[in-house]
Amino acid sequence: MASVPSISDASGASQQSALSQVLRSPPVAIALAVLAASVIMAVFAPWLNTIDPVQIDPTQRLKPPSAEHWLGTDAYGRDVYSRVIYGSRVSLVVGVSVAVFSIAAGLVIGVIAGYFRWADAIIMRVMDGLMAIPGVLLAIALVSLSGASLTTVIVAITIPEIPRVVRLVRGVVLSVRNEPYVEAAISLGTSPLAVMIRHLVPNTVAPLIVQGTYIFASAILTEAILSFLGAGVPPEISSWGNIMAEGRSFFQLIPGLVLYPGAVLSLLVLSVNVLGDALRDSLDPRMSRRL
């Protein structure tokens, strides 16, 4: 009919080649390298010339970088380099966990909200309420209620992230559920659950992957903020936020205590955001129609 022939149809081959083209661009390649380096840091921490990050050595307090302590020592004589390396574990674990759980929860709630009219109003008002509460405050409240631990921190960061995922999923479901192929499935006797899993959820995968990377970055940052404020992981666990919090008092003396973990944190968050943008750009044009 009267439309320009679609040059880019959604065949797997053209999609992959666009993705690999995007992945080869310099900013994205650097971002991938940084992310890979963080993962290596976290996984191989004991073998990267680190010592026990919680080992105190009062004789070596607040020393500048040296051959023995590559990034110097903190107020308790702990090796900053080792703490930063081990800190990546907390950040990555929190980031991945929050991303996975918030997407899983958001997917289920969002599909139900999008598919069942009666559930939609109730669920979305609850989500609106959740979104109205500042995330960090909610996290602080939850942590102060149940005490500081890694699990609590993960739950506390996950909950404020869920409403955005629900909105995203609900939007996709609303737009897809009126497609003829979904109506065809219904008229073939497919149960609502099967319709949701077979026909609706696959459409959410691409936007959720993109959203997942953003949640990952945001969670890492939020965990650092919480730890900085003293409402995050307990002080015996090395977290970049913890290190920065303790280093704050000595900033004039040894700025590295704040700057080194801060730099690594910023670099990781920036890289994940760049990756998310690249993924979104490579997946989105395939969604929208040309002309």
Binding site: M1, A2, S3, V4, P5, I7, S8, D9, A10, S11, E179, P180, Y181, E183, A184, A185, I186, S187, L188, G189, T190, S191, A194, R198, H199, P202, R290, L291
Partner: protein, 556 residues
């Protein structure tokens, strides 16, 4: 060469539009040619219809003329397009901006997306004047009102201050035409401008374009796939197929005596408005619809908004082996009826009985059982199949729902695919690997594999090219004969209804206005609405299948 008395020869006797050897390629290494070696010209006051099926390159040619090709995917590789002697392919963007609106203008298919939804329409038409002339605001307004009157819009002061969503489709298209013609361009390109409109509105718009063309001496390029429209308005015809011009000639020559085989095939695929003679169906009733109604109530729980009856008091019976057609314009309620019958929408009143059992009032368990007896095929073949699942999976989904073992379901699906003329290995492929016509066959197979008593076809051929449409209609006819299924066929196209329906119901604004056998309704309509529908059908005096005017005794 031209016998049309409307043609105005300009001083140099050259055509307003001269396309020569135009080749447009996909902008990628080894990109294929979307348009190849296309040449034709158009003179002042003449209407040239460019016809072709999807993928023929007709829209790309017109976009290339306006300089509107999507820059990052298509590029003009060779040839020239001269508008009044000036080559627009080699024009600078600034020069193209000067030309557009003033020398050449375009009208698109979808009037809603051609107008800015957040600006009043008067202002949008005035924008053309603002960009190309130095008139003051008052003078611009006066000219716009004058133009709105010449496109026969009622109450022009009110329309000037309206937003696009406050106007009907036909009114919006008139606004778009006003915008296109206000500067009296030499060339007007109309790309399927009436395809999205009702048949009666279409007739008015075509007459309007004709009238303005006669007044201003514009050269009109009319792109369409509808041969009825071509028969009514063309002076000359250019037939395109897969990017090449297959044949050009005067209207009479092409319609009466086409020399190319493709053109012959294309013209003869257009169904006739005269219904076939067929024996009256006499099987037992498989579908019995009584007083079906669907009412929509706007507003929430607190507000008592007026009700809209999308369908009201619809009654008909479908026998085994019969094809009942429901014909109507958009908003007539025919799609609502189809969806209520299949219980995709819950009817507000009435019964829909499938061999005694009422699907409209069925509870969940009964509904699950009844659903397999009535299946539906939708209009858009490109959205009717889940793009992420293989065709075989889509076809057997229904069978698996009812507990058939997978092996058996796959065998049945393969058998049904052959019934609809598709190879069995199609089951392993994905929908995007098939054309529109093939996808529609797959959808029909998906419906038939359930062995239903009733098949509902909701505008199932409306989105298909005319030659593919002919094949799918043939297929339905074959299936009907072999399987003895009853078909409820929803369409807005009287020709299609004439070709395959035994009984026709005409709907207007939710009510059945007339019903009877196809021969009765189409050849001897009783109701004025039916008569106006038939009279508005484009090209109704031409018998395409036999390349001659309709024989007098069969004319309405």
């Amino acid at each position: 060469m031209t016998a049309n008395t409307n043609v105005h020869e300009d001083d140099t006797g050259r055509p307003v539009l001269a396309v020569e050897g135009l080749t447009v390629r996909v902008r990628a290494p080894g990109g294929r040619a979307v348009v190849e070696g296309v040449s034709f010209d158009v003179r002042a006051g003449e209407t040239v219809c460019v016809v072709g099926e999807s993928g023929s390159g007709k829209s790309v040619t017109s976009l290339a003329t306006m300089g509107l090709l999507p820059r990052d995917s298509l590029v003009v590789e060779a040839g020239s397009i001269r508008v009044d002697g000036e080559d627009v392919v080699r024009a600078t963007p600034a020069r193209l901006r000067q030309l557009r609106g003033a020398k050449m203008a375009m009208v698109f298919q979808e009037p809603m997306t051609a107008l800015n939804p957040v600006q009043k329409v008067g202002r949008q038409v005035a924008e053309v004047l603002r960009l190309h002339t130095r008139l003051g605001a008052a003078e611009r307004r006066r000219r716009v009102l004058e133009m709105l009157e010449s496109v026969h819009l009622p109450d022009v002061e009110r329309i000037y201050e309206s937003y696009p969503h406050q106007l009907s489709g036909g009114q919006r298209q008139r606004i778009v035409i006003a915008m296109a013609l206000i500067l009296r361009p030499r060339l007007l390109i109309a790309d399927e401008p009436t395809t999205a409109l009702d048949v009666s509105t279409q007739k008015q718009i075509l007459m309007l374009i004709r009238e303005l063309q006669a007044k201003q001496g514009t050269a009109v390029v009319f792109i369409t796939h509808d041969f009825g429209v071509v028969a009514d308005i063309a002076d000359r015809i250019v037939v395109m197929n897969q990017g090449k011009v297959v044949e050009t000639g005067m209207r009479q020559a092409i319609l009466q005596n086409p020399s190319d085989a493709y053109t012959r095939m294309l013209v003869s695929s257009v169904p006739s408005l005269v219904p076939h003679q067929r024996p009256a169906p006499d099987g037992d009733a498989v579908l019995d619809v009584q007083a079906l109604g669907k009412v929509y109530r706007r507003g929430g729980w607190l507000e008592r908004a007026p009700e809209v009856a999308a369908a009201q008091d619809v009654t008909f019976r479908l026998r085994r082996g019969e094809i009942v057609g429901i014909v109507g314009e958009s908003g007539s309620g025919k799609s609502t009826v189809a969806r209520c019958v299949v219980r995709l929408i819950d009817p507000s009143s009435g019964n829909v009985c499938l061999q005694g059992e009422d699907i409209a009032a069925a509870g969940r368990a009964q509904l699950a059982r009844l659903r397999r007896r009535i299946q539906i095929v939708f209009q858009d073949p490109y959205r009717s199949l889940n793009p992420r699942r293989r065709v075989g999976e889509s076809i057997i989904e229904g069978l698996l729902n009812y507990g058939m073992p997978r092996e058996q379901a796959l065998r049945k699906a393969a058998h049904t695919l052959q019934l609809v003329g598709m190879p069995a290995d199609a089951m392993q492929r994905y929908p995007h690997q098939f054309s529109g016509g093939q996808r529609q066959r797959i959808c029909i197979a998906r419906a038939l594999v359930m062995e239903p008593d009733v098949l509902v076809a909701d505008e199932a051929v409306s989105a298909l090219d005319v030659s593919v449409q002919a094949q799918v209609l043939d297929l339905l006819e074959q299936v009907r004969r072999r399987v003895g299924i009853g078909v409820l066929f929803i369409t807005h196209d009287l020709r299609v209804a004439a070709q395959i329906c035994d009984t026709i119901l005409v709907m207007q604004r939710g009510r059945v206005v007339e019903s009877g056998t196809a021969a009765q309704v189409l050849a001897h309509p009783r109701e004025p609405y039916t008569r106006s529908l038939i009279e508005a059908a484009p090209g109704r005096h031409w018998d395409f299948q036999h390349f001659r005017p309709v024989a007098q005794d069969a004319a309405a």
